[in-house]
């Protein structure tokens, strides 16, 4: 058994070493980060998310937006992110303390969404885009998320949140397209994504 014991000690040691270094140490170092209180306007940063936006983040997770969109802005020396106008500064650990799960992402088939709420805060635009991306963004290969919308018969006046769409995607006369709760939550989440403010560890000019 001597050999078996030694082999297992080796397996264990190599593994635990990486666990201590890549999991435990980062957790201890910044796993307990708190919001930063901006003394000037008494605001907590990053701001807490509303219930609807929080639910929207679950819709974001369920439909695999992370496979095409990142939510991280690299510093100027480590990429083109700032040059492309995707943020005012690099993102840091504190930016993500409300994220469960994290949406850092690994792929940029589509643009980075760290600050999409700043770039594009029109709810109507987002609904139209999600319903049929190519209609607002010609040549887009983003999948349509029409299943997050519902077709219904217009009873009396058209609903205020009905989508204004023409062309082949438009519903038959007498019907309208309205967002489901999921779509509303998702858009609330998207417009809440705004990390343009400075943090003490990340001033905006970096």
């Amino acid at each position: 058994m001597n050999r078996m014991r030694n082999l297992f000690i080796g397996f264990f040691a190599t593994f635990i070493c990486s666990w201590l270094g890549l999991v435990l140490a980062p957790h201890i170092q910044f796993g307990g980060l708190k919001e930063y209180l901006n003394e000037d306007d008494n605001q907590y940063l990053p701001p807490a998310r509303t219930g609807l936006a929080e639910r929207g983040s679950q819709v974001y997770a369920a439909n695999g937006c992370i496979y095409c969109h990142t939510q991280q802005v690299r510093p100027a020396h480590q990429g083109y992110d700032l040059a492309r106008g995707w943020g005012a500064r690099r993102t840091v650990a504190r930016d993500y303390i409300h994220d469960r799960p994290h949406f850092l992402g690994t792929m940029r088939t589509g643009p980075d969404l760290t600050n999409i709420g700043h770039r594009q805060n029109s709810v109507a635009w987002h609904h139209k885009h999600l319903f049929a991306p190519a209609t607002v963004s010609k040549g887009s290969i983003m999948p349509p998320f029409r299943y997050l919308y519902r077709k219904q018969r217009i009873v009396g006046a058209p609903s205020p949140d009905a989508l204004q769409i023409e062309g082949p995607d438009a519903p038959e006369p007498g019907f309208e397209i309205v967002p489901t709760e999921d779509a509303k939550a998702l858009v609330a989440y998207l417009v809440s994504l705004n990390r343009m403010y400075p943090l003490p560890e990340a001033p905006v000019d970096q």
Binding site: A13, I16, C17, L20, A25, I28, Q29
Partner: protein, 78 residues
């Protein structure tokens, strides 16, 4: 922060110590001596060294007779 560095330092030291212990043990236990026997341990009388053990189905084994393995290890076994 300090804790992180402490853990890191500690794990490095602990790890280094383990690595050294393992090496010393391996040397003492003769792990570095019997390499030839070790590498040959997967062969035996049924599938000896010099005997390829895989060909395409239906391929005549005699085809393998021309392979370098054969050439080096002498005539095919009966």
């Amino acid at each position: 922060m300090t804790t992180a560095y402490l853990i890191l330092g500690f794990s490095l030291v602990a790890f280094g110590a383990m690595a050294v212990t393992a090496l010393v043990w391996a040397a003492r236990a003769g792990q570095f001596e019997n390499f030839k026997a070790g590498s040959e341990s997967i062969f035996d009388s049924g599938e000896p060294i010099g005997e390829p053990t895989d060909v395409f189905p239906g391929m005549k084994r005699s085809l393998l007779a021309g392979s370098p393995t054969r050439a080096m290890k002498g005539p095919p076994r009966p």
